[in-house]
């Protein structure tokens, strides 16, 4: 229960108190007119049994009802105001909190996740907890409370009738709980059928070209058809088995009214129950189950919201990157016996290396050898499992991530530009850069020419609804950004995709300008580009197996020499 409360309020169950109080008050105010109503009905019965007629008291009762009506209006109004203001306020606060938190998580954590999923949490899960907090929870609590007050009142009034009325309740609740267990079990089956269907659909859509080019439409469509029918049958099964239980539960609850009526008739005949009393029970009995039914309905909705809340709380519970030291002026980078792995699989084994200030270090090796991982460790996307990455003599894991980031620029393969103007995208490099600085950076990165050709020049929006840039152009903008940032260390991941030669030459020139006079660590895919590097680290299966300059490595006749030879042949490969 506590877990649930925490989940739906993003760890602040306190926030529920105020809305709940107001909602309870508002709901209680509905009880009073009801009492007046029963009084009126009782009065009419009284009249017919004993002939005492008191119209004034009936009008007074009505007067009270009108008074209650106004009171209810005021209370409801207030409850509504408080509930929603608090709810929206909380989710806004929660979103900001989560956003800040995400920023402080190891980037590696985020890279392992689907960004759509986290975005979804930020939007929809918060909306759902907002709903849970603002109306499901207060409704549930006040609904239950009203039901309890009413049932206690009735049982105290006449326990026999009261018990008859709620005889079905415990069984009904039992069935309900049993049902949710069953539902969970069946749900597993259903979701596996759903996954099957999704998988087949995916294959059908993405594989259509292959499916068609190998003339296997019929066969593959058959598979999809089968999965779709399985999914249908699983859905019908779950509906068929849970549906009746659901109804049994409601029927049990609702049968309280006729049961009580039967008991009442016997009691009246037996003379142990007064007529007006019976009438009262009948009147109350016909309405008392509504709030309970609503509470039950709310409960199942609440459970759904709980999963949303849990997702938020789980994200919030992820550990932030520690460290508060500031980097020094010196920025030699050192790996000291670094071991690292994503999950169970170890990627880097005992890596020790040093990258001197102002030097260029190249990382080479087959794909999967750990080059990118090394680069990510330098940028502190992750902290090493064992060993240290030192930046200017200080372990990065003790450094404040934000301050470390100021020292590093990165130019990666997959460029992500924001949906914003080109100028603003470049401006990310330096917050208060002047237009002149931005243009200068653009010139240096060889993007000035194509930017001014855009419909609104530097103010052209990038992305949806705006201009779409080619991969090469995006890359150059990201270089301009790094240029503006002017950090002493540059991490480069050479693009593997081949662009048209013209674009490529432009980027090469831009990169040359960017790296001048800086400490550079580069992942090279084409060995030719890094023959001038001060130091080349050759990686294989997470270990540094060779290092040295191009010449030294060639004369060693090891992996580097082998790769070099291979690449010279493949480069010259001609199709015949």
């Amino acid at each position: 229960m506590k877990k649930l409360l925490n989940a739906i309020t993003c760890n602040e169950p306190k926030l529920l108190i105020k809305p709940t109080i107001w909602n309870v008050l508002a709901n209680l105010s509905y009880l009073l007119p009801f009492l007046c109503l029963t009084y009126t009905v009782g009065n009419i019965y009284q009249y017919f049994t004993s002939g005492i007629w008191n119209p004034t008291s009936l009008w007074i009762a009505w007067g009270i009802m009108i008074g209650c009506f106004i009171l209810t209006y005021i209370l409801e109004n207030e409850a509504c105001k408080v509930t929603y203001r608090d709810g929206f306020g909380t989710s806004a606060k929660g979103r900001v909190k989560l956003a800040e938190h995400i920023r402080k998580l190891p980037l590696g954590f985020l890279m392992g996740k689907d960004s759509g999923e986290i975005g979804n949490t930020m939007m929809n899960d918060f909306s759902r907890t907002e709903t849970a907090m603002t109306h499901i929870m207060p409704q549930l609590i006040s609904g239950l409370l009203i039901a309890i007050i009413a049932s206690v009142g009735l049982i105290m009034d006449d326990w026999r009738m009261g018990l008859a009325m709620f005889a079905g309740l415990p069984v009904s609740l039992l069935v309900m709980f049993a049902m949710s267990g069953l539902e969970r079990k069946l749900d597993g089956q259903l979701s596996s059928a759903k996954v099957q269907y999704g998988g087949k659909l995916q294959e059908y859509l993405y594989g259509m070209r292959i499916i068609k080019s190998y003339n296997m439409q019929g066969e593959d469509f058959g598979k999809l058809e089968h999965a779709c029918e399985e999914y249908r049958d699983a859905s019908i099964r779950i509906e068929g088995s849970v549906g009746p239980l659901n109804l049994v539960s409601t029927a049990l609850l609702r049968s309280g009214l006729p049961l009580m009526t039967i008991v009442g008739v016997y009691l009246v005949i037996g003379g142990t129950l007064e007529l007006p009393e019976f009438a009262l029970f009948l009147l109350v009995g016909s309405r008392v189950f509504d709030p309970l039914a609503v509470a039950i309905m709310n409960y199942s909705e609440l459970i759904m919201c709980q999963t949303s809340g849990e997702r938020i709380v789980n994200l919030l519970n992820e550990k932030e990157m520690p460290g508060e030291k500031a980097p020094r002026q010196d920025h030699e980078i050192k790996f000291e016996h670094v071991n690292f792995g994503y999950g169970a699989e170890q990627i880097l084994h005992d890596v020790t290396a040093s990258m001197k200030m102002g030097s260029m270090t190249a990382l080479v090796g087959p794909s999967g050898s750990g080059k990118s991982t090394m680069l990510r460790l330098i940028a502190r996307f992750y902290d090493p499992t064992e060993g240290k990455v030192l930046f200017g003599g200080i372990a990065e894991s003790e450094m404040e991530p934000e301050k470390l980031m100021r020292k590093i620029s990165m130019v990666f393969q997959d460029v992500y530009l924001f949906q914003d103007t080109i100028a603003n995208n470049i401006r990310y490099g330096k917050e208060n850069a002047t237009q002149k600085e931005i243009e200068e950076a653009a010139r240096m990165a060889n993007c000035y020419d194509f930017i001014v050709k855009q419909p609104q020049g530097f103010d052209t929006m990038i992305g949806e609804g705006g201009s779409t840039l080619s991969g090469g152009e995006k890359q150059r903008i990201s270089i301009a950004r790094a240029m503006l940032k002017d950090a002493p260390v540059v991490l480069l991941d050479e693009a593997t995709a081949s662009l048209d030669p013209e674009n490529e030459a432009q980027i090469q020139q831009a990169i040359s300008r960017l790296i001048t006079g800086r400490t550079v660590i580069v992942i090279a895919h084409r060995l030719k580009t890094i023959i001038g590097a001060d130091n080349i680290l050759v990686l294989e299966q997470g270990r540094i197996i060779e290092s040295g300059t191009h010449k030294e490595l060639l004369s060693r006749r090891g992996l580097y020499a082998k790769l070099w030879n291979l690449q010279t042949t493949t480069e010259g490969w001609k199709i015949n």
Binding site: A92, T134, H135, Y206, K212, I269, K528, L566, I575
Partner: protein, 653 residues
Amino acid sequence: MCINWYTVFFIETYKTVYKMCENNENIPKGVFSLVRFRQTERTPSAKFKKERFIFMKKEKEKQGIPRLLELAGEKNSAMSGSILLSTTGTLLQLTPFIAVYYIMAELLQNAANKTPLDAPYMIHMAVYGLVGLLAGYLFTYAGGMMSHTFAYKVICKLRLKVAEHIGKLPMGYLNGTSVGKIKQIMDADIEQMEGFLAHQLPDFVSTLVMLAALFIMMFSLNGWMALACLLTIVIGFACQLIVMLKIMKSGGVKANFDALENISNSSLQYVKGMPSIKIFGQTVKSFRKFYQDIMDYRDFTIKMTEQIRPGFVRFRVLIQSIATFILPVGLLLLLKKPDDVAYATTFIFFLVLGPGAATPTLKLRTFSESMNVITEGVTRVNEILNERVMEEPEISQIPDFYDIDFKNVDFSYQKDKGILNKVSFQAKQGEITALVGPSGAGKSTIAELIPRFWDVTNGSISIGGINIKNMSSKDLMEQMSFVFQESFLFSDTIYNNIALGKPGATKTEVESAAKAAQCHNFIMALPNGYDTKIGDGGAYLSGGEEQRVSIARAILKDAPILILDEASAYADAENEHEMQRALAKLIQNKTVIMIAHRLATICNANQILVIDHGMVSECGTHDTLIKRKGIYSHMWEASMGASAWTMDSEKEV
């Protein structure tokens, strides 16, 4: 007593929006398209209106549920049956209340006349109530089962129908964006229809019937009190309606979508662009007004709530106080003739049943919203089904040689934007024809037209002198193999993935194809060799390995025409070397069309076509093109320069 109606409008507005967003994997796009959708709906452009008009005139195409049923080919009778059952169920569920009324009447009669109580009568009534209730639930269950079975059948058929149709569309129809959209439709959109058919629709009808029955009963008993009851409900709804109209008028709904779009857009970018955000030291507060967007959204929703609140609260309080308004009317009437037992009974009937009229009234309103969602879903499904399928010739002609001829081919995806312009060339059997040019020039489009991913707008493409439109797609496909940049493998064993190249291939054939494609070695190194499953629960292959498997497949197929899209990414050197060896095997003695990214690869090709702005701007062998000093020689020089480039951090540039 209190009945909680929290399904009421203003929560619903937000909930509906959220629901819509949830179903869109990509939130901003989802909201975006939603906004667009709404806008077109409200202010259809003249063109849109006209098109629609013509459309309606032509076929009077059905919309919404009728169209849905038509699409699924399901008979109405199952649906009518389920609605009938659940309506009966709902009505039967009223029996305990009616029993209570009769018993109360009997009690009253008894009190007035001083006759002994008719105990068996009352017991009967109570038992009827119980039996009626249980029977009601039985009917409801039967109706529910029927409607669910029906609804699941409908959506299953609908899904298959859409899938089948997609299979017949030009292959080019399936691309990144459309696939996302189709998945969304096939999953969430269609799933929503289930809920609608199985729940909302029967619910709606039975609620309507029940309300009607209730009011008929009320009016037949006493017009004045029935009127009081009805008026309260009507006034309640009016209160809401007024507020709603005000908001609609002030553009609140659109503003809501805007605010929502802003915030979801920012949040998705925030997450997606996290590496950049970290590198450039952005925070929630500094990033693209993200903080402001969150706060704006909060303020907006609070403001909106403030606007809606009065109407909403009035409505809620009014509806829950129906008895308060019946009471004075009843009292006035009663005071006129206090001894009329029949009248007093009626009065009590109203006090017992009147407030019960409120709950179902609320269900009606939510219905119209889900109705909108369904209509939108059906429209989207229709959009796919209205895509024109590829026309198949009646008699398929099969060529006996394999030269490919493009004659004045024009092509455009959309009417106004031409991609290819008067493209003519011939690719001879047994020769290599290379396509080069800047990205976006139209190289891939040319390659995609040969297997009829699209049909040409003007001009013709023929193989061995036969127009490709005169071949059945099956025969056309039989003549060619492709090696695309992105290779697609099925989640099946490696063996089966290769074997699909040739139905009925023997194990030796499969293995020798794998050997020729340089995959045998890495396959044997996998845990189960050729029987290793690919993908979830099996092995993951590297990009280069996947590509070689698809080459093996093509080798096994051994089709006379080969369309190749040279991998544009540098795999690591070893992988690349293997791939080149595989390719060399594959292209022997075929008509080869190759999209080349690295000019060095194709400088021995028999024919090089330089594609620029959708046109063949140069054509010839490497040597002749170099001599021409045109685009090709320029590209060649640039590529030589690019491959000679080295990085240097010390030299000023």
